[in-house]
Amino acid sequence: MNEKIAPHIEELTRALGISRNQAQEELEILLNYRVPLDEAKRTVIRKFRYSSGSTLKKIGELSPGLSGIDIKGRIINVKEKNVNVKGKRSVIYSGVIADRTGACPFTSWDDHPLSKGDAVYLKNTITRIWNNRLEINIAKFSSINLLSDNLIPPVEDLLEVLEKKIRDIDISDLFVTSTVVILKMYHRNIKEGDREMTIIEGVIGDETGKLPFISRMMDIDIGDVIRFENASVEVFKGLPSINLDENAEIEILHSKLDGILTFESVSRVPEPTRIADILNKNGVFDAVAIGNIISVRPGSGIINRCPECNRVILKNTCRSHGVVDGIKDMRIKIIIDDGTGPLLVMLDRDISETVYGRSMHVVGEMVKRTMSHDQVVEDIQNALIGKYLAVRGNASRTDFGMILVADSAWFPEDDLSGRIDVIYEKLSLLEAKLNV
């Protein structure tokens, strides 16, 4: 047997840069389990691939799913987080690293401490998509070396932070500058490590849209017009969230200085957005869409939720909490389409009852009587298919595509004769164009 695998051990030793003994040990464990030789080699190669040769790349060249990547750059910011990894408490560091070609979020998993402003040489990292964003992972097998400071340009030269309107801020932005009004906010106590502290969460907006924000600055209030520079953009439930932390420069403007941005002008119900425009983004906060209901999805009707985590459960078994006493709830999942694209919309119990025109109690009785959830879906279809529906809420991209979770929904009125006039006008323009 040893004779037979010797050349393969030789090959692995050379290819992976590990010791002969280690290669033999790893391979033999697998062979003892009667794993075929080819499979065993594959597994050993996979296990040690990251410790084999790696290549230096610029941040601008990165794409998801790469391994063995070396990066030279400067740490723009970094945060320490306590997490549970497989039941073990550990510290991770996450932040943003930049070079001349771009910036990218990173997470360091194995207690490699990093500080803001460090010029670093990361070796043997991998890239992945996390929260719909490209991210560099500094793993167990990676290494971090400090570079002498003059080798990497200073932070000011690395980051070009754009001034943007709220609508144009995307989760691909890492930092942003903008002027906004504070529309909603509330204080919340959190625990950071052992310290208790108060933070502010809320919603900011301008005339183009709204976004959630968090802040540690206490001297702001609803209605204030503020300008922030270099605020970091984080991802919260698939949507951009503005972090007004100590790294951002924040200025409270006298609201009269900026005549256009007022609380009244910004806090209105947003204009409806074409569904195609929602689908083109990674997420939209507080969007209104109008379309025809073209499908009622299975899973609509009466559902059970886990009392611990609120997840939808089947047969009283939660993925995380095992056998539990489910809490009865109702929801409707529909697809609306306005001719530019389809949008999956989730209606909670209150909205479902209103839109469907039946209470949860009656629907529950229907399930008992017919012994079938399909009957309910069919009844909802009869009530809703084809109808125009307007929905308002947050849209974000998930594994199931873009989903809008409705905060409200209504059957929209429409100014048909006004729209007819506009089409007449367009057609006469078109006719004139053709007759030239």
Partner: protein, 283 residues
């Protein structure tokens, strides 16, 4: 999850004028799942896989021999869609077998093209969901569809008349690759030109006119409104004597016959009631 296809809005005439179908999807998501949907391409460059339409069912026939196959004719202001529902469209077939035309309906379905082999092509809808609709929904669908059709005609007319580089035009105007692909086919394969655009303008004007006539208030509606207004003005809490209503309505130029007709109509709509014979009270 694979991306779901848009439910396109297209008038029956443009839909039935189609003679081309393609299998590709230009969007990347389609390449990834390795199962690319079929599209019918219309002469105005709309790629139709799924469509949503509202119209009037005028005829329903069971044309199946062994199995039930229901064929329905659904009319919009420009022409008629043909809907086929067979054994794999059970719910739609049951729905169609149970209706009594004419009926307003809305339908979500897939575009189908059948070629018997003699060069002819039959375009139809295979329904996914079908439901009763209202005249108001029909009107609104006509306007939605007219808006979206006009947009495509605008792009095509620009490309015919302006002699510009197509790719540059699509980029500049932010036209998605999906829409651009359909429009290329319209121009290259159908040779859609000014004549067809003019034909479609006339069709759209007809469609809009059909909606306007239902949108505009009929004299009947106006008369009913007058009656209700008078009732509300005159009612002191105990209702209005019918003779007094007639006198007041005559002041507004209504004939006795019109008053009678409008009054029984508002009564039947439940907008007023008769607490005692000869007394009317608004709700």
């Amino acid at each position: 999850m694979s991306d779901r296809e848009v439910a396109q809005r297209v008038f029956a005439k443009e839909f039935n004028d189609s003679t081309l179908s393609i299998e590709s999807g230009s969007s990347d998501s389609n390449k990834n799942i390795g199962r690319s949907p079929n599209f019918l391409v219309t002469p105005l460059g709309m790629k139709v896989n799924r469509l949503f339409a509202v119209g009037v069912i005028t005829e329903v026939d069971n044309i199946g021999t062994d199995n039930d196959i229901w064929r329905a004719r659904m009319v919009d202001p420009s022409g008629a869609f043909t809907i086929y529902a067979g054994q794999y469209q059970q719910e739609a077939a049951v729905f169609l077998s149970g209706i009594d035309p004419p009926v307003f309906i809305s339908v979500v379905g897939k575009a189908r093209m059948y070629e018997p082999g003699d060069g002819s092509k039959f375009i139809s809808i295979r329904p996914e969901a079908i439901n009763r609709a209202t005249d108001h929904m029909r009107d609104r669908w006509v306007i939605d569809t007219a808006e979206l059709t006009t947009e495509r005609m605008d792009i095509i007319s620009d490309l015919i008349l302006l002699d510009t580089d197509w790719t540059g035009y699509f980029d500049e105007n932010g036209i998605s690759s999906d829409i651009a692909e359909g429009i290329r086919i319209a121009l290259e394969k159908y040779n859609t030109g000014q004549d067809y655009l003019r034909e479609m303008i006339i069709m759209l004007l007809e469609c809009l006119k059909s909606v306007e006539s239902t949108e505009a208030e009929s004299t009947k509606d106006t008369n009913e409104k007058i009656i209700l207004r008078i009732l509300n003005e005159m009612d002191q809490g105990r209702g209005v004597i019918y003779e007094k209503l007639i006198d007041a309505a005559k002041q507004h130029g209504l004939s006795e016959e019109e008053i009678d007709e409008a009054t029984s109509s508002v009564l039947s709509k439940g907008k007023c009631y008769e607490p005692r014979i000869g007394i009317l009270k608004p709700v």
